[in-house]
Amino acid sequence: MSGVRVLVGTRKGAFTLESDGKREKWEVNGPHFGGWEIYHLKGSPADPNRLYASQSTGWFGQLIQRSSDGGKTWEPVGNKFVYDGVPGTHQWYDGTPHPWEFKRVWHLEPSLTDPDHVYAGVEDAAIFQTSDGGQNWTEMPGLRGHGSGSKWTPGAGGLGLHTIVLDPSNLKRMFIAISAAGAFRTDDGGATWKPINQGLRSEHIPDPTAEVGHCVHRIAMHKSRPNTLFMQKHWDVMRTDDAGESWREISGNLPTDFGFVVDVHAHDPETIYVVPIKSDSEHFPPDGKLRVYRSKSGGEEWEALTKGLPQQDCYVNVLRDAMAVDSMDSCGVYFGTTGGQVYASKDGGDSWMSIVRDLPAVLSVEVQTLK
C-alpha cells in the first residue's frame, strides 16, 4: 500500500511522520538525536529507505547520520568537512577578509540515481559530495573558486549554502543558492559554476543589480520543466524560464513578498506555493494570520489558502527548508513552523490540518511518497 513519510528536522531532534495513502492518521516517531539541531534530513530518490540527516550543536560540532531502514535506526558516518587546498578568505561583515571556516551542514541532497552519492551544502558556503554513503566528504572547489568567492559576505544567518536543486534531465546540471551571495549553476557536474542573478534587484546592497550579493532564500523546480525555477528572495518572489539566465518578479498581489519557502505542485508545474512573512524586521505572518499563498498561473496572481490554518494571534515563522510536496494523485503540501507545528494539505492546499502541534521549532520538512 502506498503511503507518505514526512521527515522533520527541528532545533532539538529529528522526527518522522508516517501515514497511509489516505493521509488522515499520522504516526509520529522520534525524537531521534534528541537535543541536537537537525538542520535537514532527506531520503534518497533511488532508495527511499536510505535517509541522511545533518546533526549539529555548538558543543560537539557536526555529525552526519545515515539510515538504511527508513529512519528506524541510524548510524553516524563521516563528519570531516575540510575545504579543498588553502581555504582563502571571504568578506566579513566589516569588509575585511575572513578565513573560510566550516560551521555546519545546512542541506543534504541525495543523488537522483545513487543512494550512496550525496551533496552537502555547508556554512561557510561550499558544496561537498560523498560517493560512499557519507563516509568521506570532499569539496567541489569550483564553486568557492569562482572569481566572486572572496566577495561573498554572510547574511545575518551566516554564509550558508542552503539550497541544492538537481536537474533530472541533465545530471551534470545543478543549481545552488547561498545567503547572501545569490544563485549559481553548474553545467559540468560541479567543475565550474556561474552566478545566475541577472534580473534580481536587492535594495539592501550597494549595487542593487550586482552579479553577486543577493540574499536568495530558496529555489524550487518542477521535474518536468528543469529550465523553470521559482525563487523566494529576501524580498521578491522571482521566476526564470531559462535556467537562471534571467529572472523576473512574480510577486504580484502577495500581501508581502518577503518570506523563506517556495515550492511547486507535484503535478502542475505552474502551481506554486509561498508563505508570506511580514518583513525582515518582523519574522511572522502579516496580521497574525498564517496563510499559504498559491498561484495557479506560475506567479503574479495569488490566492490565500486559510482553511484549517490559524487566522488570529499566529506569530510563527516558516523557514526556508520547511515546505515540501508529495506526489500522491492529489498532491499533498506540507510545511513546518518555528512554533513546532507541521501542517499538511492533501488537496493541493485547499484545506489544512496539523499533523503534530508541539514539536521543537521546525527547521526543515521533506516528504517521501512511498509506493
Binding site: 558543543w59 560537539f60 557536526q62 555529525l63 563528519n79 568537512f81 575540510v82
Partner: protein, 98 residues
C-alpha cells in the same frame, strides 16, 4: 588502564552507558588519551577536537583530579592518578545557554 568520562550526548553517540576504559600505551597525555578514545569510538572524531586543528572544541572542558586541564598543552603529562586509573579524565560540556 585509563578511565574517561563523557558528556551525555557523547555517551549516546558512542553507545556507551558509563565510563569508558581505554588501554593507552606510552606517555599519558591529553593527546594520547583522546587518540585512543577516537580509535576505540571513531564516531567521536570531530566532536571533542576540531578535525583540522585538533584543538579542543570551545564549549568542552577537560577536568581531572579536581583541576581544570582544558588549557594545558596537549602533550603535557596528565596527573599520575589518571595515568594509574584511579581517577578519570573527564570530558565535560560547558554550561551555556542560560
Amino acid at each position: 588502564m585509563i578511565r574517561v568520562t563523557l558528556p551525555w550526548h557523547l555517551r549516546n553517540l558512542a553507545r556507551t552507558d558509563s565510563e569508558v576504559v581505554l588501554d593507552v600505551s606510552g606517555e599519558i597525555t591529553q593527546r594520547t588519551v583522546l587518540d585512543a578514545l577516537e580509535d576505540a569510538y571513531p564516531m567521536l572524531r570531530g566532536t571533542i577536537r576540531d578535525h583540522v586543528t585538533s584543538k579542543r572544541r570551545p564549549f568542552l572542558r577537560f577536568f581531572a583530579c579536581e583541576e581544570d586541564l582544558s588549557n594545558e598543552l596537549p602533550d603535557a603529562p596528565l596527573p599520575d592518578a589518571v595515568a594509574k586509573g584511579t581517577e578519570p579524565f573527564m570530558v565535560v560540556g560547558a554550561i551555556a545557554g542560560g
